[in-house]
Symmetry: none
Subunit: 236 residues, 2 copies
DNA sequence: GGTCAATAGTTGTATATACAAGTTTGCAAT
DNA sequence: ATTGCAAACTTGTATATACAACTATTGACC
């Protein structure tokens, strides 16, 4: 028995996957256009298109009309996970929530950030860093990049009083989000903030949120695995 | 300004959605074929096809080559996280899935286990331990307790051929599940199995599944955080 | 140097067509 | 009646083409 003959578009898909997994095509690098792929593999444009299309649905690629197709950072697709406000969650446990605003500033967007936030290189994004405490104990570090075009007054807020998530929910109601959940070791400086040993495994949630206007923000949440659990919802 | 003109395939999608949501088209009933839709809406077959295709990806429809397109059952919506078969997931990545059955036996239920599985203390439960490999690399350790009342023939299976999840899905279709996700350090013996250093942070998912008859199983999945990521679905 | 317009390149939608592959149905031969 | 086969129908893959919508770049002009 020989292998079942693979369809042409799957051959192209596998080729692209391979390039990405092997690191030949880095994150956010441009991948060949539909026409280029069509010529390379001697197929019609529609067949090449299908390969790109399906990989985009799987979350490996990101496409923008007029600009091109790029390797995505996040592998996950649109999510059904409920998002909650961390202050509410802690309140429901009958505990006290506090937030320390560590940073609130603007930063130059790197190439990667520009793509993820739907901004142009050279522009500046807002950046906030907030440490959440439950009964005075640090439980979550929130690092967030925000698209200034959609939330121009982000820097004027005081995130000791309102969580970034709560503020953003009001300003630019989110319509979609993707997550990536990983177990990691936190960076040394973050271990200090969270008051944990460097070897403590942490849950890290990367989340990209959209409003109707486009990508609103990109948040990285880090929480020690022994203090924090993820139910069927994610807490911001 | 008037509304942006909707693309033709979205018009068809909306039409079909409406029929399903209003109950005109019941579960498992046949929906018009590509050709019929094409004629009805005066579009080409490929456009009608796209509408059906996208609704299939969304889970509203089910298609089988040669037979037709049908309204899907609505079970998937209720669960917050989609559960997938790890073998399928790996297959879709174009990789090879293998499973090593490490243990398959009965154990005395502890007090805790008895409560979680809805059994009585002193009874014995089934226990399986399976290591999943992706391209010969260990990526996930699955430890599972199973309620013998609901799945009496669990011990007769060979989980090198069929994943426990797949088998259980057939025997006792799951109606509900809860998860708990943590970041942990794996036990030394499990680190060996997964071929990771003892300090490697791991994602650990604890999942309890129900069928209509009661609690079916209690699974603990452990995966190295750097090899494994959690999207909007959990992979079993 | 800065602005604007034209242009080339890229993805998105839509059509018409052809053949492959799988399922169901119905008819003919046994 | 049962079997076996052919035909009709349905979905799957692939091609060639056309135009629309959007982006980034280039070059002319001020």
């Amino acid at each position: 028995m020989s292998q079942a003959k693979a369809a042409k578009f799957t051959v192209i898909k596998e080729h692209i996957c391979q390039k990405i997994e092997s690191g030949v095509w880095q994150q956010h690098s441009k991948v060949p256009s539909e026409n280029e792929l069509a010529e390379q593999f001697s197929v019609s444009r529609m067949t090449a298109r299908r390969a790109l299309q399906e990989l985009t649905e799987q979350g490996l690629l990101v496409r923008t009309q007029g600009a091109g197709t790029f390797v995505a950072t996040f592998k996950s697709q649109s999510s059904v996970l409920e998002i909650r406000n961390i202050a509410d969650e802690i309140g429901e446990r009958g505990h006290e929530h506090q937030a320390m605003q560590l940073q609130l500033t603007t930063v130059d967007v790197t190439e990667e950030l520009a793509i993820l936030l739907g901004m142009k290189q050279g522009e500046r994004a807002f950046y906030s860093e907030v440490l959440h405490l439950e009964n005075k104990q640090p439980i979550q570090l929130e690092q967030r990049f925000v698209n200034p075009r959609l939330v121009p007054e982000y820097l004027l807020q005081d995130f000791a009083n309102i969580t970034p998530h709560e503020y953003l929910s009001n300003e630019a109601p989110l319509t979609e989000a993707t997550h990536e959940i990983e177990a990691v070791l936190a960076a040394p400086e973050n271990c200090k903030l969270l008051e944990i040993a460097p070897s403590t495994p942490c849950l890290q949630v990367k989340r990209r949120t959209w409003s109707s206007q486009g990508v609103v923000s990109l948040a990285t949440l880090t929480a020690p695995g022994d203090k924090y659990r993820l139910g069927s919802h994610l807490t911001f």
